[in-house]
Amino acid sequence: MRLLTGLVLVVMAAAALRGLLPRRPGLTVLAAGIAALVLLGFYPQDLATSEFWAGAVGFVSILSALLIVMHPNPMVSVLFLILNLFCTALFFLMLQAQTLAVLQVIVYAGAIMVLFVFVIMLLNLRAEEGLRMSMGPQRWGAIGFGAAFAGLMFWALRHRHGAAYVEPKPFVEGFGTARDLGTLLFSDYVFATEAASVLLIAAMVGAVLLAKRRLE
């Protein structure tokens, strides 16, 4: 974990240095690169642990989520959301959910986000229209609410174990494969699957009707 902490500190220091020395981007990148290589030389065994990679993906995920909210250009926000969805797909892979990871990339990052990109291209939204966060009491109220909400969730996580801790069963062969998922979808949850297909058709018809240009 030392490697991860060190690399995170290097990245944050590089970002701070970029803010302080805007005219010398090459110097910042060079210094950050050298620091990262030195750290890698000191703790190479950390690279083989799964905690390091989970932490690294988590860092990128949180960073991209913050940048979605803070960046003024909506197209760049979409790119950061795609990066975030890709990091979530990597989390799914770490949690033995291979089919869902790939489906997340195909459907969420590959199709839904293309919809967002299309709409931004059609509406021609540039940076100045994406800015304008709410000023005044709403902004501080929102940040305060966010802090309170995060505090509530951490409290709930800490006081989670009501019952005694049960040793988890070993994994069934084929956990997370398409075969398992498909079997469940079409046997136990077949009604929900059919309802989801009806929902998709309704959404398609609704979207076409709402966005239709009325030829007057």
């Binding site: 909210v69 989390f91 997340q104 059609l122 995060a150 951490f154 959404a203 966005a211």
Partner: protein, 99 residues
């Protein structure tokens, strides 16, 4: 206790999404923060499915993705229709309220 890591990640992502919905004024960025919240919920489902060794979490997450797709499509269609009437994507400018 690996699952705690994923639950904490999901909680943080959900909070960032919440704050984004409340802070940003551009309708498309608000929709994106809603997608971020749905994504965090998916991560929680999959983390618990891993803990309980049950595929029900995966099925649920798949349906959440489906519903997110429908909601994004319809939401963006509404944004397009709104833009045609009001020529703005700022939610402050489309309010018909008195104050």
């Amino acid at each position: 206790m690996r699952i705690d890591f994923f639950l904490v990640m999901a909680a943080l992502l959900f909070t960032v999404g919440c704050v984004g919905v409340l802070i940003r004024r551009n309708v498309i960025v608000i929709l994106m923060c809603i997608e971020l919240m749905l994504n965090a919920v998916n991560l929680t489902f999959i983390a618990f499915a891993h803990e309980m060794r049950s595929m029900a979490g995966h099925v649920f997450a798949l349906f959440v993705i489906t519903v997110a797709a429908c909601e994004a499509a319809v939401g963006l269609a509404i944004v397009l229709a709104l833009f045609r009437r009001r020529r703005t994507t700022n939610v402050d400018d489309v309010s018909l309220m008195r104050w």
